[in-house]
């Protein structure tokens, strides 16, 4: 009986062998495929306004207050559970899309509004806002280029047990506290140093200290409540700050893992490595339309509220979107299971007849992954 090939672990660090290979193969800061859109139309799509994001942010803030108030008011009875579930998603999931859109500076027209929401959302999602701004820029320059992109969610061969833990955020929270403590103590990891310019390091260290100080203050309040005999209610400060990143992150992970899962690595056409999925309106509100992910990567200047319009304009040139989260998961999981055995396999979706072919000439595969 022949043994099934096992995929050898790739080096996803930004300072190792894959980084060197990616550079050699011309995959670094390369030219990417994009659909042609007339300038006039593009200008209309890129236009900024404060209105949609202000409406969404006010609603987001009000819902935070109402659901947390409900959770605290009903503390000790089962009635508090739905309130915490809702609060968890608003805090631990919706933060990701706010972090993302405001980091791009596209949510609001007014710059300081983007900055304020960006910093709040970075705290909630547990990311150092300085380092992650730069890692995300890299994710756009070198999307899913191994050895370059610091935000690759699916690293081959995928450890499914570990990946499942992402839905409760424990690994990410642990990594965040390690990273933020290291930053607060004045140092950045080699990867962080690789994508964050040195001039930004002092800011990164300062923000890390602020994050840690907030958690210490939260812990002190909880301790004070415990010492004053409040028992289980002394968990409430953590239910409000910090813990939602664990009990409420499932929606962020559910949608986020679909962005690039099961698709190609080391290509220069976002239609091959990103996924657009039609979603229900609540998920789209939480996710700020990032389900139009191919569109976002091709045109990162288009604000979230214009992505459905952009989708209508470019869909003739894109693979058919997945009709639902369920179908997208079914196909992604199948592809990922295959990727665990077949090095180099990826889910290659058919393009409609109206589309220009995949830019294979821009796809310069780096040496095939070894099999063992």
């Amino acid at each position: 009986m022949t043994k099934k090939p096992k995929v050898e672990r790739r080096d996803y660090s930004l300072t190792g062998e894959s980084a060197r290979q990616a550079a050699e193969a011309g995959l670094v800061a390369a030219e990417w495929y994009h659909t042609e859109i007339p300038r006039k139309q593009m200008k209309a799509l890129m236009a900024r306004s404060d209105g949609p994001a202000m409406r969404d942010t006010i609603l987001w803030a009000v819902l935070h207050v109402l659901t947390a108030a409900g959770g605290i008011y009903f503390w000790g009875s089962w009635w508090c559970v739905p309130f915490w579930i809702a609060y968890g998603v608003l805090y631990g999931s919706a933060c990701d899309s706010r972090w993302h859109e405001c980091g791009h500076g596209t949510a609001f027209r007014t710059r300081w509004m983007n900055d304020v929401v960006y910093h709040i959302a970075s705290f909630q999602v547990m990311r150092n806002p300085i380092n992650w701004r730069w890692s995300h820029a890299r994710h756009h320059t070198d999307t899913i280029i191994v050895g370059r992109d610091a935000e690759i969610a699916w690293m081959h061969p995928v450890n499914l047990a570990l990946k499942s833990l992402a839905y409760v955020g424990v690994v990410e929270v642990w990594r965040y506290f390690k990273a933020i403590t290291r930053n607060a103590m004045g140092s950045l990891s080699p990867d962080e140093q690789n994508y964050t310019p040195e001039s930004e390091w002092p800011k990164s260290i300062m923000v890390a200290r602020i994050h840690l100080a907030i958690y210490v203050a939260t812990a002190l309040v909880a301790l004070g409540m415990l010492l004053s005999g409040m028992g289980w209610a002394s968990l409430i400060p953590f239910m409000v700050i910090g813990l939602p990143r664990i009990y409420g992150c499932w929606h962020m992970v559910m949608t986020g893992l679909l962005q690039h899962g099961g698709l190609a690595e080391d290509v220069l056409d976002h239609r091959l490595n990103s996924r657009t999925v039609y979603m229900n309106p609540i998920s789209r509100w939480i996710y700020w339309n990032m389900n139009y992910h191919v569109e976002h990567h091709m045109f990162p200047m288009v604000p979230y509220h214009a992505l459905p319009q952009l989708h209508e304009i470019v869909k003739h040139d894109l693979p058919e979107p997945d009709p639902s989260i369920w179908v997208a998961y079914r196909d992604m999981v199948r592809a990922i299971l295959r990727q665990r055995r077949e090095p180099g396999y990826y889910l290659r979706r058919d393009l409609p007849e109206t589309a220009r072919p995949y830019r294979e000439d821009l796809h310069q595969a780096i040496p095939e992954r070894a099999t063992a």
Binding site: K43, H104, G105, T106, R111, A137, T141, P300
Partner: protein, 107 residues
């Protein structure tokens, strides 16, 4: 003092927009502000050398199409990460309905 070089008709660029202009082996971005005033900078973003002519002009700012870095195109000053380094700017004017730039006079 360099020479004024003819670029295009003033009407070729809408107010609050940008256009690419290549000259003498170099590439520039030519802007018209909301009030119609004309400005010129280097064409490539100082972050990763992406052309700014595909970007978006908002008031007196140009947003880079790749990572949304922001510059003030009047002074070239970087306004938002990931751009840190200023853009070179060049004198520009409208003469007789034509846009002219002095490409050898980096500001």
């Amino acid at each position: 003092m360099g020479d004024w070089i003819d670029v295009c008709d003033a009407d070729d660029i809408e107010h609050e927009d940008v256009m690419r202009w290549d000259h003498d082996g170099r590439t520039f971005a030519i802007y018209r502000a909301p009030d119609g005033a004309v400005y010129a900078t280097d064409g490539l973003c100082t972050h990763e050398q992406v052309h700014l002519a595909d970007g978006m002009v908002m008031d007196h700012e140009i947003e880079c199409p790749k990572h949304n870095g922001l510059f003030d195109y009047r002074s070239g000053a970087p306004l938002r990460a990931p751009v840190c380094e200023a853009l070179a700017t060049y004198p520009a004017r409208i003469e007789g309905g034509r846009i002219q730039v002095m490409p050898d006079q980096a500001g």
